[in-house]
Symmetry: C2
Subunit: 193 residues, 2 copies
Amino acid sequence: MSNKRRPGRRPGSADTRGEILTAARKVFAEKGFDKATVRAIAREAEVDPALVHHYFDTKEGMFAAAMQLPITPDQIIPALLEGPREEIGERLVRLILQVTAAPETREPMVALIRSAMTNEQAATMFREFISNALLFQVANRLGVPHLRIEAAFAQMYGVIMGRYVIKLEPLASASHDELAELLAPTIQRYLVG
Amino acid sequence: MSNKRRPGRRPGSADTRGEILTAARKVFAEKGFDKATVRAIAREAEVDPALVHHYFDTKEGMFAAAMQLPITPDQIIPALLEGPREEIGERLVRLILQVTAAPETREPMVALIRSAMTNEQAATMFREFISNALLFQVANRLGVPHLRIEAAFAQMYGVIMGRYVIKLEPLASASHDELAELLAPTIQRYLVG
């Protein structure tokens, strides 16, 4: 991150997007997800807020880009809600397994979770992002109590940690089909009842 | 930890137990749970292996004491298996919630999990302990596939992390009764089918 002051506002340049993301990481870490504003991120990056909006439609999208998350809530939520309600458990399980299967998409998420586990500021940032950008949205669109969505989150969080971080066997080498068969009814019950 | 060599074997003294535990932490961290032996721990502590056996009946018990875990698999497994099979899901959920409710019993477990999340050696130690001393035992005694026990573990792991580390609301302030109602059928299904 450059701390050099430059005269006036910088125009959009090849690395402006990268500089906004660097500023975003700093502001999200310091303020959490809820209190971070586009204005504060623009100030930190020394650019006009309009330029931040030019690169990133939403704060959620900017957070996902800053943390190098492979998928944003804007992509997950429609993929989850589209299709028959009686298959939503299986859709969610397979979506999470697919998104986390490749190391290059999984690692940024695991990195975010690791820092949330060991650092109070990072935990606040992760909690606010997961709650407000993902879990509350899903709860509200499905009309399901938040606690049930969090139970589903807890199940999949534990599966991904057990599979890729603790590396429990046979969980780590189970196929998506095996896991979907086992876990989909759990998620279905939480999300639909 | 003292590295001073002393002449000959030390007799059991006021802090022998503590010195064995210090040695155990070092050997478990270096070798993992499976490969750590009473003999290696005794050598590290510079005591006779018989003295280690005098203080700790089992390697599981020594590991639990070394990590300051409030409860050993020897205590969890009978508490879980005792009583009607059709209530095992609820018994497991309430047992885990009770054991993790007080900070002084929860914190050593969270510390162990934190280090497993961020350190490969600690992850190996945690995986081997959890698998061999707890999950495989429960799977074998219940005659249930290991993957189902790991799904139950993943659910409760996610709940405890969500509740106490990420501090998701309403999960963090939900009552034991609310959580038992929501989670017990999940665990029941995994453990009994």
